[in-house]
């Protein structure tokens, strides 16, 4: 019972190898670029809230709000 509860709480994430968008591990296709290749081996993260106003979003070329991995 307790193991089921702890499993349901833990959400793991993976990063798209093409656009670095971070999605929950159960997602099959990247909602940004449509790629189906993901990796669990990613490090660092940029959360883009407003891609139009954010200077960091421009550096990482993020056009969609969301979470992006820094190193894939």
């Amino acid at each position: 019972m307790s193991s089921r509860r702890s499993r349901s709480k833990k959400v793991t994430y993976k990063a798209c190898t093409r656009c670095r968008y971070i999605v929950p591990s159960d997602v099959k296709q990247c909602p940004v670029c449509g790629s189906t290749t993901f990796t669990d081996n990613w490090k660092g993260m940029v959360i883009v809230i407003d891609p139009e106003k954010s200077e960091i979003a421009k550096i990482i070329e993020a056009k969609v709000p969301g979470r992006y991995a820094i190193r894939v």
Binding site: T17, T37, T39, D40, N41, K43, G44, M45, V46, I47, V48, I49, D50, K53, S54, E55, I56, A57, I59, I60, I70, R71, V72
Partner: protein, 166 residues
């Protein structure tokens, strides 16, 4: 044209990069909480003036918040136990650029490095990199834990660096 340029310059001047000190290992949680709070405020029709959050890949215990001003960020994280405080001063965009514009993982691997295989039948084993194929995104490895010399090729996403040759 000039007015437009001036407006753009002004907008840029208002951007601040605030460095927050967090409990080591809890950087992601702090970033997610700030993200949720900002989303809630945006839903309520308020603009908190926070544009992005950076969790650096190589620095533990710190996150960077890109915001219109410091006060909104301080207000937002007030009372949050995983936030230890704010580092005085603000960062420059050039410093942030170094943090977020990193080389792809395959560029960092070189022959002689020790890696761990993280998926497939050899999962958990340590290996030495003998060749890196950047075009095919493939790494040739020599398994260290095997009783006899064993060489295999694996995709780059199946390994994790353990020790760099230097």
């Amino acid at each position: 044209m000039v007015a437009e340029r001036e407006a753009k310059k002004k907008r840029r001047e208002r951007r601040e990069f605030i460095l927050l000190r967090t409990v080591a290992g809890k950087e992601d949680i702090v970033a997610f909480v700030i993200e949720d709070k900002v989303k809630e405020l945006l839903k309520a029709g308020q603009d908190p003036g926070i544009y992005s959050i950076v969790v650096p890949a190589d620095i533990k215990g710190y996150i960077v918040v890109e915001a219109k001003n410091i006060h909104t960020v301080v207000e937002l994280v007030k009372g949050f136990s995983y936030v230890k405080g704010r580092v005085p001063g603000v960062l420059k965009l050039k410093e942030i650029e170094k943090m977020v514009r990193t080389k792809p993982f395959i560029e960092l691997i070189k022959p002689g490095d020790i890696v761990e295989i993280i998926s497939g039948p050899f999962r958990g084993m340590h290996a030495r990199v003998t060749d890196v194929n950047r075009v095919r995104q493939e790494i040739t490895l020599e398994i260290l834990d095997a009783a006899f010399p064993l060489e295999l090729k694996v995709p780059v996403e199946q390994i994790r660096p353990v020790k760099s040759k230097g």
